[in-house]
């Protein structure tokens, strides 16, 4: 119960933010907000020791019990690791944002409300054990991401980027929901843990492949995998703290989380292994290759994030292979899942710090364009140090944590093609090659990022502002992260035992009973293994290519713009926009009469359709009242009056026609034994005609206006159809009495209950007294509205008069 509440703490805190912002202007709102993630880090840290031993914690809060939907917080190694990342990086990002966002110029209350909303949503994603609530939180992260990217909503690029990320991630989320629903249909439960238990029974189900593909679509869109990655570079329009937090450390890893979490269910499928590994590797290569084309610092980091996410994704795919191998726990490639989680932690540290440095450079120099930057090393030595640590780690150099996980990645990829499984022995040979080439590009862009910015020629005239070192408060967060980058290199096994192994056990429960059963020891020195030679090769070729970069970077411009995925996205969105607009223009003409035509046609179609389906057409003369000659005369008068209103060319004739119809109806009431109605009708009709005549005085003449033939035809057809429909209803109602009349009750009780003789009157004032009360209310409202409308005109006229 309390554990579930932790998820919602940021959301609840968000309620207070606007008040704090409004009432306390002197202190940056971020300081108050900082308390939230900091507290949560401490809370979640208290779970570490127990979870590392293999314990799990579960708490449940019913949400919609009738639909079996509840918020379940399930903390195992994987969930706890993510929760700590979310709150830990969250604290650093909030701290950083205090110095990044000016308290006087920025709308801080918006920013922090969105950020806290995201924090809750993300905690919900990684802790939910219930598929529906998982989906709910998933979409909430998309929405808060949308709001944060569009934070500077006056910029076109921000709005475009926000919408693009929303379209792609929410679209993927809907696919994922489909996958979830199929899973729950197959398994008969919404609980992920229960699904994992019965996973072996699901494999043969015809829906299994569908749910797999749909779920992966959700994961791939969220984690910016090929070809859905296009939203991530545009999301860089967000303030840098947001990019560091959502778009590198946490939200984009939700897709990885999803894949990791569902590995125990889907690992059995060959398709899963190929898709996750293949798409991951392709993304790794694609992202690293195109990172070098970017000129925006954050653009480079965005593509590098895409690429690194692909790397982790491919490792998760490799981890799923273990399901198919006997004794996988003893084999060399057991590294895959371990490396995935390990690299996920490492990536969060070095990429977080790099994003913050990019923000600092933007903040202090006024530009993020790498072509203008250069030579900042002596001006911003601290920033340079942090950036160098982050970049070298990303490039996979010792003594930084990236080196360790990159080595493990290469080992895993080398090991994969040794299995004679799923054709890995043939196509699998590509895996280490692609991984190696991508690593070279990773190396180059890491150097590109750090040396183009800090080394080279200093061009002060290019900067909008005079550059100087960032304030220390802004540097604290990236420095802490950079410190982790180095520390983790020296204590990898402590991190491995505490965080990685419990998470790996959640991904591969089929291999290990407890985290301590995982027999992996991370070391920087493996001896003269192929991985080492690969790394040396990467460094040598990487340095050579980096030095030669200016000579071949122009090659990127040879790629035609029209063939990119961005272009495809733009075209699709444009096509949808224009197409849908045209479709709605077809019927949304803005003309009242067209809408009325639709409505009347709809009514006719529905009523006639119902009559037809129920086979209710019938005509019976039984019980009909006799026809008398004077009634025929009245009918003739009525028909003539009605026809007059249609055919009349002058207003007066039409009004008189209507009046004659009204009086004839009153006469009908007389002959059909309804004296009260007749009286009322006479009075009302008299007033109505008087009113009409009054209005007639003010309204223009009825002109013979040009009408289009087609509309005239439609109009005639619809009118006749309505007439026929009403006649049929009247006939059917007369001919078949399905239920006995309830009037008998009134007849019997009118005297004993209400003490009256005139049944109609008693019904109105007694049985249905409220009805009459409301009727009076409606009349008074109409009266007041009429008065108001006339008054309005008077005022206007008076004003116009004054102006003269």
């Amino acid at each position: 119960m309390l554990q579930v509440l932790y998820i919602f703490i940021p959301m609840l805190a968000a309620i207070l933010v606007p008040f704090l912002y409004k009432s306390i202007k002197n202190i940056h709102t971020g300081w108050f907000v900082l308390a939230v993630p900091a507290t949560l880090v401490i809370i979640y840290a208290s779970y570490i020791a127990k979870v590392a031993k293999g314990e799990v914690f579960q708490a449940e809060l019913p949400w919609i019990p009738s639909l079996d939907i509840s918020v379940v917080s399930y903390l195992d190694g994987l969930s706890l690791l993510f929760s700590l990342l979310i709150t830990g990086i969250g604290s650093l990002v909030v701290l950083y944002s205090i110095f990044y966002l000016d308290k006087h110029k920025e709308k801080l209350h918006n920013f922090y409300v969105y950020l806290l909303l995201f924090m809750s949503a993300m905690l919900g994603v990684v802790q939910s054990d219930h598929l529906i609530t998982l989906y709910f939180f998933w979409e909430l992260t998309s929405i808060s991401s949308f709001l944060l990217i569009g934070y500077w909503y006056t910029r076109d690029a921000s709005r475009f980027g926000a919408l693009k990320s929303m379209m792609i991630t929410v679209g993927g989320g809907l696919m994922m929901l489909g996958g979830f629903i199929l899973l729950s249909i197959m398994g008969g439960t919404y609980s992920i843990r229960e699904l994992i238990v019965i996973a072996p029974d699901l494999v043969g189900h015809p829906l299994f492949t569908w749910s797999l593909v749909l779920l992966l679509l959700g994961a791939f869109t969220k984690s910016a995998q090929f070809p859905f990655y296009i939203w991530l570079p545009d999301a860089m329009e967000a303030p840098t703290p947001v990019s560091a937090y959502l778009h590198s450390a946490t939200m984009v890893k939700a897709g990885l989380y999803l894949v990791a979490r569902f590995t125990p269910i889907f690992a059995v499928s060959e398709l899963w292994v190929w898709l996750v590994t293949g798409v991951g590797l392709l993304t790794l290569f694609w992202g690293s290759f195109f990172a070098l084309k970017q000129t925006d610092l954050k653009g480079i980091l965005a593509f590098s994030t895409v690429s690194q996410l692909g790397l982790i994704m491919s490792l998760l795919g490799g981890g799923a292979v273990a399901f198919h191998v006997n004794g996988a726990a003893d084999l060399v490639f057991k590294f895959a899942a371990f490396a995935a989680i390990f690299h996920l932690i490492n990536h969060a540290t070095f990429k977080g710090s790099l994003f913050m440095i990019a923000g600092i450079i933007d903040h202090e120099t006024g530009t993020r364009d790498i072509r203008k930057l250069g030579g900042l090393m002596s001006i911003m030595p601290l920033s340079f140090t942090v950036a160098a640590i982050g970049s070298f780690s990303m490039a996979g150099l010792p003594p930084f944590n990236g080196f360790l996980s990159k080595e493990m990645f290469l080992s895993a990829m080398l090991a994969l093609n040794e299995f004679e499984l799923f054709g890995f022995d043939t196509w699998g040979a590509l895996f280490p090659i692609v991984a190696w080439i991508a690593s070279i590009f990773t190396f180059i862009y890491s150097f590109y990022f750090v040396f183009r910015t800090f080394a080279g020629q200093y061009k002060p005239e290019q900067f909008p502002r005079k550059p100087h070192e960032a304030p220390i408060g802004m540097l604290i967060s990236p420095m802490i992260l950079a410190a982790f980058v180095v520390i983790i290199f020296f204590i990898p096994n402590l991190i491995g035992d505490t965080f990685v192994k419990p998470a790996v056990q959640a991904i591969q429960p089929f291999l290990y009973d407890s985290p301590s059963a995982i027999d992996i020891h991370v070391s920087a020195w493996h001896g003269l293994q192929p991985e080492l030679f690969m790394t040396i090769g990467i460094v040598i070729i990487g340095v050579l290519l980096f030095v030669a970069l200016p000579k071949w970077q122009g090659l990127y411009n040879l790629f035609p713009r029209s063939l990119t995925f961005n272009n495809a996205y733009d075209k699709i969105m444009q096509g949808l926009d224009v197409g849908l607009y045209r479709i709605s223009r077809l019927y949304m003409t803005g003309s009242m009469r067209h809408y009325l035509l639709y409505m009347f046609s709809g009514i006719v179609a529905i009523v006639l359709g119902t009559l037809f389906v129920k086979d209710a057409f019938s005509i019976s003369f039984e019980g009909a009242a006799p026809i008398r000659s004077y009634q025929i005369i009245l009918i003739i008068v009525l028909v003539i009056g009605t026809a007059t209103t249609i055919l009349a060319k002058s207003r007066l004739t039409a009004i008189i026609g209507l009046g004659s119809v009204g009086y004839t109806v009153a006469l009908f009431f007389v002959i059909f034994n309804a004296p009260d109605l007749a009286l009322t009708q006479l009075v009302i009709e008299t007033i109505s005609v008087a009113l009409f005549l009054l209005a007639f005085y003010h309204l223009p003449k009825l002109g013979k206006r040009e009408e289009r033939m087609r509309f005239q035809l439609n109009r005639a057809i619809i009118s006749i159809a309505v007439g026929v429909m009403v006649t049929l209803i009247a006939l059917s109602a007369h001919s078949q009495k399905l239920i006995p009349s309830i009037s008998k009750y009134y007849k019997e009780t009118v005297y004993s209950l209400a003490g009256g003789g005139n049944i109609v009157n008693v019904i109105l004032v007694d049985y249905r007294g409220f009805d009459t009360l409301f009727e009076i209310t409606v009349l008074s409202i109409a009266g007041m509205a009429i008065l108001a409308m006339i008054k309005l005109r008077m005022n206007r006229k008076e004003k116009a008069h004054e102006n003269k």
Binding site: M592, A625, A674, Q681, L699, S743, V760, V778, R793
Partner: protein
């Protein structure tokens, strides 16, 4: 009698819809007036037109008309009057403001397009 009335009511409805679909405000209002007359007669007819006396308890009770439709119609007459009056003033006002009574010209502002 009910059978004939069914056709008369159908005719009333047809005329009403035809008028409502016209361009002129006054015709539209006349159409709504006809529509309510038609509806009142429809309710009355559906309840049956038999009965030899008004629905008032008297000595020597005979069969009398169904009181329930009459009660409904009584309410409806008053309401339809309110609506007609409102429409008339609305038409009058919009003619004053917009200087046209042609609803095909009343399409909101150009900015909506």
């Amino acid at each position: 009698m009910e059978i004939i009335m069914a056709f008369v009511i159908g005719f009333l409805f047809m005329a009403a819809v035809y008028l409502i679909l016209s361009k002129s405000l006054l015709r539209i209002i006349i159409g709504t007036g006809l529509l309510s007359h038609g509806a009142h007669l429809l309710i009355l007819t559906m309840g049956g037109l038999g009965g030899e006396a008004p629905p008032v308890l008297t000595e020597g009770a005979k069969t009398f008309a169904d009181p329930l439709p009459q009660a409904l119609i009584l309410t409806a007459i008053v309401i339809s009057f309110g609506v007609t009056a409102f429409f008339l003033v609305l038409a009058y006002r919009s003619y004053q403001e917009l200087e046209t009574d042609d609803i095909s010209l009343m399409r909101g502002s150009d900015e909506d397009e």
